[in-house]
């Protein structure tokens, strides 16, 4: 009677691995196509990096003469035919050399590495706080229908306010009024920090506004996912059974409700990494925060192909990888439905 169950579970794990494998292959193929896309899209963009931006007042230029242009193009390898450029880039990338940025005259890796920690700091803290707040608000609403519908209304209103508006509103409503809240940048410029703690605190103080803006933008959709998954869990019988067994309230909350609700929320967490990247770039520009967002905006403005390639490759890989993880979580989640 017991025997037939073992091969049953074996069968399930085999089937799950097959699905996992197919998800992984999708991930690889998408990566390859994105890589190609990343190479060609910047080059298709009209306008060339060496012609200068003219419109800002007060910045006149001395024109680049023709052969100076040629010399620069040769220096960056942009004079060769596209096919050749592609081969060099692939060879370079394999050796983790992502080329020289035209705008910053430094290697792309260096530019990215100097800015990446700031963007990652903003994004990660935003994602975590939004997840935390979304879950907390969803938990608050459980069992109190009036409060729950009230929070729901606010959240759906907040979800509608466009991201850039939140940034600007925060900037002008808070920053202008609250003097000690810094308006821009990631650190008090050129301030000799005595201790690490003071340094960290300065970073925290500067990142307060951008993170709040991003959290206000990301929190609603975490809240919606958390709320639906919590409500389905609460209706499940094993929660009722847990109460009937007289388990401690704490055990029921964490090991029964939260643990089961966590997986769909985690899946949503990784899925929203993609949207968060877009939001972070926007907010970085509003608060002059030195992350990859600003780099990307300037790179696109000045058609710095090589830098654009580097940044997009990084961002698309992160997005792809996180959607892959969210697929894996979803697969793992289905364990209770594999009967």
């Amino acid at each position: 009677m017991i025997i037939n169950n073992w091969n049953k579970t074996a069968y399930h794990t085999w089937r799950k691995n097959k699905q996992l494998l197919s998800r992984f292959i999708i991930f690889l193929c998408s990566f390859l196509v994105i890589y190609l896309f990343n190479f060609f899209v910047p080059r298709l963009m009209p306008g060339d990096p060496f012609a200068h931006n003219t419109a800002q007042s007060g910045q006149d230029m001395h024109g680049l003469s023709a052969e100076e242009l040629l010399r620069l193009k040769a220096y960056y390898g942009l004079d060769k035919p596209v096919r050749e450029q592609f081969i060099n880039t692939v060879k370079g990338n394999l050796k983790l050399d992502f080329g020289q940025s035209i705008l910053y005259k430094k290697s792309v890796i260096e530019v990215i590495m100097s800015r990446l920690p700031w963007t990652v700091y903003i994004m990660l803290s935003t994602l975590l706080i939004s997840l935390f707040m979304g879950l907390f608000l969803a938990l608050l609403g459980i069992g109190k229908p009036k409060l729950d519908s009230y929070i729901l209304k606010i959240m759906s209103l907040l979800a509608e306010i466009p991201a850039f508006l939140i940034g600007v509103l925060l900037l002008f409503l808070f920053a202008a009024k609250v003097s000690w809240l810094p308006l821009a940048g990631n650190l008090t410029p050129f301030y000799r920090h005595t201790g690490v703690l003071e340094y960290l605190f300065d970073v925290f103080r500067h990142s307060l506004l951008p993170i709040t803006a991003l959290v206000l933008n990301m929190m609603p959709n975490f809240y919606f996912t958390a709320r639906t998954s919590l409500q389905t869990i609460l209706r499940k019988e094993y929660v009722f059974n847990a109460h009937a067994k007289g388990l401690a309230e704490k055990i029921i909350h964490y090991k029964y409700i939260l643990l089961n609700a966590l997986f769909p929320i985690l899946a949503r967490f990784f899925l929203s990494v993609g949207t968060c990247i877009g939001g972070t770039m926007l907010i970085e520009n509003v608060f002059a925060y030195p992350g990859l967002g600003k780099v990307l905006r300037d790179a696109v403005m000045y058609r710095d192909y090589i830098l654009i390639q580097g940044v997009f490759l990084l961002s698309t890989t992160v997005v792809l990888f996180s959607s892959f993880i969210s697929d894996v979580i979803n697969l793992y989640l289905q364990k209770d439905k594999l009967r």
Binding site: E237, F240, H243, K245, G246, L247, K337
Partner: protein
Amino acid sequence: METNNLTVTYNNGFTLHPLSTTIAEGEIVAVVGESGSGKTTLAKALLNLLGSSAQVSGTVKINGHNIFQLPAKELAKRRSLEFAICLQNSYELLNPLLTVREQICEVLRKAYRENELGERLAWLINQVDLDSAVLTKYPHQLSGGMLQKINIICAVALQPGLVILDEPTSSLDRSSREEVLAFIRLLNRQAKMSFLIVTHDLSIAKAVSERIYILYGGKLVEVGLTDEVLAKPRHPYTMGLINSSMEIHPFRDIWGIRQVEETAEQQGCPFYPRCTQSLPLCATTMPELLPYKQEERLVACNRGGVVTILQGRNISKSYGKEQIINNLNLEIYAAEVVSLVGKSGIGKTTLSQILAGYLFYDTGEILFDGKPADFRKLHRMKGGLQMVFQDPHSAINPHLSVQEAVQEPLEVIFKKQDPTLIQKALGDVGLPRTITFLRKKVKHLSGGQKQRLAIARALVMEPRLLIADEPTSMLDASSKANMLRLLKSLQNEHGFSMLMVTHDLSSAVKISNRIYLLENKDELREITDTKEIAPFFC
């Protein structure tokens, strides 16, 4: 445990009517009822698990504490320690993300220290013959049966004083069911644990419980010792339930209690629409749960339980010097089929005709519905007594048309012909209702048709008791089977009682609830257990 008029009303209208009972320590009680009778609600209500969806009133005291007044924390602490419940099995009773070991230990930790867990756990799982490899598995990897056993283990892990099991054996195969029942008996004996087992399966109740509660439509209709109730059900519903349970009557053709489409909500006895012995009074007054005669039994029926339609006391009859039947006693309850079997020529027909009022008896007494039988009135009233004789040819005047034959009693008694009644009667017995057939002369009918006509004629009078003397002896095998089926379906449908005289024990067993054996002229006894009947078959 002690409940005092516990009532539960759901906002969708279903109510568990006030109920007061006690369960002593070490006692096993079974709660039996159809699905929707409120047995699960009762189980949950007893442990204050109904939450906001229902209004619960009355008190439930367990070990002296009224669990409705206990603060939540205190109540939670006592759960699994003093009382526990094992809910109806479903795939989602266990947390999908925790291993089996973890979920059992969760409960054990309430009373045992970490180091004692392993040993207690081992004992528990081999009580229900589960392999220890199960402990590391996740719920979704186990079969329904195994989950059921684990749920039961969780409930009994800390040996609480009272354990409520809701359908503990529903998804178990035969051998695991035995194991579980054995485990329950063991706990009951060893640890003096009392059990409340909610089930729809009478054989479980029979196998393990001492007392039984019968629940119908949210009302406790009968309470009593299990064996006695199963043997002699006193409430019409209980009788109907027992009669239709295959586990108890393995050989009999099983007929459920008649179905009636949902009537509007009414205050009276919940069983009123389907009750065969109901009175208009039943529709309005809610019966109280009262003791039944001297027996250790409680019945909630406005008529005090199942009514004995006919009672014959020490009846004797002799032709001249020859004693035919001597000092016989017999009872027929409402809405049941009783067979009178015996060798041919032993006096069965005589007894049946005496009971039907067509033959005088020397001594004894016959009561109909508790009152001395006034046969003259009974033959001429609706809800009276009618008889179908052995030989259809002589029972009906061959020259009459079918219509005249059937409507004769109506015409004579009520002086009017009611074609719809005739049509319905003919339809009931499966005879054609066309005009040509109605005009047909009786003599042109076959033996089977005549017998059916006789029955139609009897039923037109809607009798409360129909006595049929060897109704199938003249028929061939297939029409005999049809006739038996017809009689049983009519009896089940209209709810009248029937005394069937037959020498053929197999047909008796097939359709009758009880069987009287006339061994000789002064010995008439009831055959109850199947062992006696079996030799006649295999």
